[in-house]
Symmetry: C2
Subunit: 456 residues, 2 copies
């Protein structure tokens, strides 16, 4: 892997685009301090201690570009493990551009997206899953996604994977040992114990694979379709649900994130609301395309809120709609709105179980609605220490590992030769190792790090 460690020095603007009080330029590589000497000759950069800060003038051909603060990190005590400098300039895009240009002239090159983190990985400062978590951490917009990314970055997920690998390697070494003695037809590895071990590993992997559904929605938000007739009160409900959150977000100036207009965060989990037309309305109008579209949305969603007006909806309408909903494979919540305006709804819908009655307008029953939404995404799992898989690449690796393990199990049942068994185990080890980067191909790395911000 060492061939991947390039010796050149890279530079990038590490802070977001635009004007601000501070803009940070990051340099990494063995020429870092030589370049500093060129752009800010007033200090003896090589002789200054790591983790210290110095004010210095950046000059180009005698003209002062900026007075900046230089933070120094000496190899190996830096993010990348190389010599690193972080230059805090005045936050003017013009100045940052000029300084980067000057640094390029002095021999650095522009960093590719994620290249700082890639170097950190290549120099063993973090494994691949941890490095990927850095990007997730920066992109995280809710408490839950932040917590998962932070846990992953700190090695939680990696440790679990590494433990599984150790078990598998033990298993593999016994098999390989048998191969060495194959002519003697001995079995070092007790087949029953092996089977038990492989089953236990499969169980863990199965759990991780299952966690992806939840992990994925936590990372990306839970797509939630609200379906119901126009007069059912969908927009009132949406506004009431969304209102609170928006106010909180806008309290701190400068931090308001790009809000998806219809996103609500409940206990750290984002729910993305998708508004749709009525469920059967379109059937009446025989607008086949419209119906199909609503159904597709409901199928793709993780949750459906079915909202109806208790004052106008007829029993048989509700029955028909519920039939439709049962036909889909998506969890749904049946909500009767305007329950404050009519006292008779209780009798009217007596025969239906599990209906939640609310009044969106009067804000009655909304807390209960939120609790039910949370329960539907298995929120309690988050409280436990279970690791959640959020990354599609990891998910794929885990599925491939499972396939290989199933192959091994089956092989053992069919008493295949140790030779073939070893092959399956090697496959499993390879896929598992891909997650943390213990085994990795060059193109895989390029693909992973290109998704990062520049400057990270």
């Amino acid at each position: 892997m060492s061939k991947l460690i390039s010796q050149d020095t890279i530079v990038a603007i590490a802070t977001p685009q635009g004007q601000g009080a501070i803009g940070v330029i990051r340099l990494s590589g063995d020429q870092t301090f030589n370049i500093l000497k060129e752009i800010a000759p007033s200090k003896n950069w090589h002789e200054l201690a790591s983790h210290t800060i110095h004010l210095a003038h950046i000059k180009r051909e005698g003209i002062l570009l900026d007075e900046a603060l230089f933070a120094l990190f000496k190899n190996p005590r830096s993010y990348t493990g190389e010599d690193v400098a972080e230059i805090s300039c005045h936050g003017s895009p013009f100045i940052l551009q000029q300084v980067v240009q000057l640094i390029l002239e002095k021999g650095a090159r522009l960093a590719k997206a994620g290249e700082f983190t890639q170097r950190a990985f290549l120099r063993g400062r973090m494994d691949l899953a941890q490095a990927e978590a850095v990007a997730d951490l920066i992109a995280s917009e809710t408490e839950a996604s932040h917590r998962i990314a932070m846990n992953q970055m700190r090695g939680g997920f990696s440790n679990e994977i590494k433990e599984l690998r150790v078990q598998l390697i033990n298993f593999a070494s016994l098999i390989e040992l048998e191969l060495d003695f194959s002519e003697e037809d001995v079995e070092f590895a007790n087949r029953d114990q092996l089977r038990a071990l492989i089953n236990s590993i499969r169980l863990t992997i199965e759990q991780l694979i299952k966690s992806f559904d939840l992990g994925h929605v936590i990372k990306n938000g839970v797509p939630t379709v609200i379906v119901g007739k126009p007069n059912a009160g969908k927009s009132t409900l949406l506004n009431k649900l969304l209102h609170e959150e928006k106010a909180i977000v806008s309290e701190i100036p400068g931090t308001t994130r790009d809000l998806i207009e219809d996103e609500m965060t409940l206990d750290g989990i984002a729910f993305r609301f998708i508004d749709t037309a009525g469920l059967r309305e379109t059937v009446d109008k025989v607008e086949a395309i419209g119906v199909q579209r609503t159904r597709d949305k409901m199928k793709q969603a993780s949750l459906i809120i079915y909202l109806f007006d208790v004052t106008t909806t007829k029993e048989k309408e509700l029955i028909a709609d519920l039939e439709e909903l049962k036909g889909l494979d998506t969890p749904y919540l049946v909500v009767g709105n305007k329950a404050d305006t009519s006292e008779k709804y209780a009798e009217k819908f007596n025969n239906f179980n599990g209906i939640l009655f609310i009044s969106a307008k009067q804000e009655l029953g909304l807390e209960e609605l939120k609790n039910r939404l949370l329960n539907m995404v298995n929120y309690e799992k988050l409280g436990s220490n279970q690791t959640l898989v959020t990354n599609a690449r990891h998910y794929e690796c885990l599925v491939n590992t499972r396939t290989a393990l199933i192959g091994a199990s089956k092989g053992m049942d069919e008493q295949i030769s140790g030779d073939l068994l070893a092959q399956d185990i090697r496959q499993a080890l390879f896929h598992l190792g891909s997650i943390t980067g213990e085994v990795s191909a060059d193109d895989l790395l390029g693909n992973i790090f290109s998704k990062f911000c520049i400057g990270k």
Copy 2:
């Protein structure tokens, strides 16, 4: 002024909004290190040296918010002169918001726009003109505006003003001395010398006032109207002029500034192009409003490029248009386009002086056009060491100073009493001192710093 120094500790996000590799949170005030102890208890912040960097975990109720780098600056060795910490977090808006929230809970308050720099001013780290230059520096988008702001921030302009004040104070003290001996009717201050001194000061102030026109356009760009009939080739010329610049700007990813679509930078001066309809075209159509609008634009502009097609324009048309242009008070440049397609234009327009012949399409004569544009904004002045006034507030102060000095001159001519003369001089001193903040009213300060970025 010390009553303005508030004792509370302020916090703000100092980097631009959005996702990035790094986001910086800035804290200033005497509670800074106590707050660090609360949010990141693993270090003994009070005991660590100034200008050092430390990696630490930021925790809220035991939950890890981020692993961040803390840069420490101890009073008085900081930007504000107070205890300062700059926390480099992962550049996630969510994390930054959470950390700021936590710091607020621990007793800091959100900084107002410019409040860090305001504190730097109040603690004598810089004078008012220097502080204002910080905002200009961050907003500067061209080499020339950057150079002026940098010079001002480093005290160039302030020194000039202070020197003038010293001269005036000498003058004033002589007058005041006379007042003490007024009954004896002595003149300590030789009136001829005084008059010479006041004239010399007025001359300098006059120069500074004049420089505002140039300084202002350098800071904000030179509004340049291109006028000419639709077939004269205005858009071709604009595209050719703008093309080059845009390519340069977009070379460094992440730094492309918000381009005003039709802005070109020549030797560090921005020209903002305003496209207009033809000059007389609208007259023919008797569209009075359209004509008026074009004329208004031309009057407001700093420069006019009058473009005509040498192959189709008749002599008498040109004469009529030039008459119009002369009627305005705006400098203009007459440019004959498509000069490559016809050889006869030289004869045809023989009688006109100063026409620049170009071919926008073939890119002939464009360098000469650029040089003429630069000459028209008195570019050579920039090469000299003359101080340029760019700030409207400074301009106003200078004009008020001039008024007071004229009053003093006039008073001396009319042999008014030393009493009244002293009053004029005090006025002049007051206005001059307002520039650097040696005299200042509270509301003035609030007004100045509210124009800053948050976090600066």
